[in-house]
Amino acid sequence: MAGAGGGVVTVYGNGALAETTTKKSTFSVKVGLAQMLRGGVIMDVVNAEQARVAEEAGACAVMALERVPADIRAQGGVARMSDPQLIKEIKNAVTIPVMAKARIGHFVEAQILEAIGIDYVDESEVLTLADEDNHINKHNFRIPFVCGCRNLGEALRRIREGAAMIRTKGEAGTGNIIEAVRHVRSVMGDIRVLMNMDDDEVFSFAKKIAAPYDLVMQTKQLGRLPVVHFAAGGVATPADAALMMQLGCDGVFVGSGVFKSGDPAKRAKAIVQAVTHYSDPELLAEVSCGLGEAMVGINLNDDKVERFANRSE
């Protein structure tokens, strides 16, 4: 993981170079907060009251937004960064870190979020794309970013752009864990292949997954992604959360899963417990009892369901 002193990633060109090789390197500070979030649950909240419920349940951070992904899906239209006033209200309601979403490629939304002083920006495919071809150059910011991925190549491309934390894309707002599982298995599977590969073959592998060679080698040496890797997109139950932890994720984002359920406070608490005790089936059984209704969710066999995860690469 990110070592003390010298940066994790060596980068080239404009702001990217200065950031990680000078003594005042900020990349390890960006990555440092993600390390503190490991083993925790980050919950989507749409107002100050929900934020307090999340904090009381043991969330390690909150994601402030106007509409949870399930509602964005149901209502359609263009989904943009939330009103900064709302985000400020949520920030003032809790003592835990606050994150907020910006549209992919929309660096001004990110500048605004940095200006209001939140802790992390999620460059999210759940919002409508602002740039079909380019993500934000995250090295230009002091605020750290978390980005989604479906596979190892995508994860490393985001990291090279400056992402300090990675999450699976899953399929947000569906309450269906299938896509998050597909994405984490893809990343872990590629890492397993990479670790057994002859060093001389890594050049070709890097080309194949369209990822920067140096990050691919770093991943091979570490045996894991160079940054913290959370699960996201479709977690609705404690069992879902524990599944993602057992598959190798460092923590879990829960969006619509908590506040769209019958008893949000109870479910939130149960999911927090599940992420800490993910290998303890008896405890998982105990916390899964009597949680009330889970969010209904969407079956992905229906062609009419829009795949947020495929919007960007």
Binding site: G32, L33, G39, G40
Partner: protein, 171 residues
């Protein structure tokens, strides 16, 4: 010698990895019964409110307080420091449970949110003279707490200078 690392949330893996590099066995501790098998304990960095909630659910606080009272060595990093302090200011509304044992006053998130996080080289003359090693230690302050004041029996190993007009010092 087995060192326990409280593994409720946060950077417990990093601490276990550090122990491994020193050739020491580290074990994850999540339940009170596990404390009897370790001779010392590390409470890692992370979100202190999250760790407090999880510790409450499993009735860990009485066992942790006993562990400290038995004078077994306990190390607190960041959130761990908050737990070990006798007094904490800047808590969430309603407060959070503490273990106590270190005679000091700690301010949670003293420096602010993530954008105020930073790294600094801290001179550690006491450590360097007693144990050798470099004269400075690289401190990474992520939404870090600060010890505002420490009791007479507390040995201060390093200080980070804060401008005297810092508003939080007026508390």
């Amino acid at each position: 010698m087995v060192v326990g690392v409280l593994a409720l949330q946060g950077s417990f893996n990093e601490h276990i990895a550090a122990l491994r590099r020193l050739g020491v066995k580290g074990v994850e501790v999540r339940k009170p019964e596990q404390l009897q098998y370790v001779s010392s304990l590390i409470i890692p960095g992370g979100e202190s409110t999250t760790m407090a909630k999880l510790a409450e659910f499993h009735n860990l606080f009485p066992a942790l307080r006993d562990f400290v009272k038995m004078r077994k060595p306990v190390w607190g990093t960041c959130a761990g420091l908050i737990f070990l302090a006798d007094k904490v200011v800047g808590q969430k509304s309603g407060g959070q449970e503490l273990i106590g044992g270190l005679d000091c006053t700690v301010h949670r998130n003293f420096f602010g949110s993530q954008l105020q996080s930073f790294e600094a080289d801290l001179p550690v003359p006491n450590l360097a003279s007693k144990e050798g090693g470099p004269e400075t230690c690289r401190g990474v302050f992520i939404r870090a707490p600060a010890v505002l004041e420490a009791g007479p029996d507390v040995e201060v190993l390093a200080v980070y200078p804060v401008p005297p007009d810092n508003h939080l010092l007026q508390l």
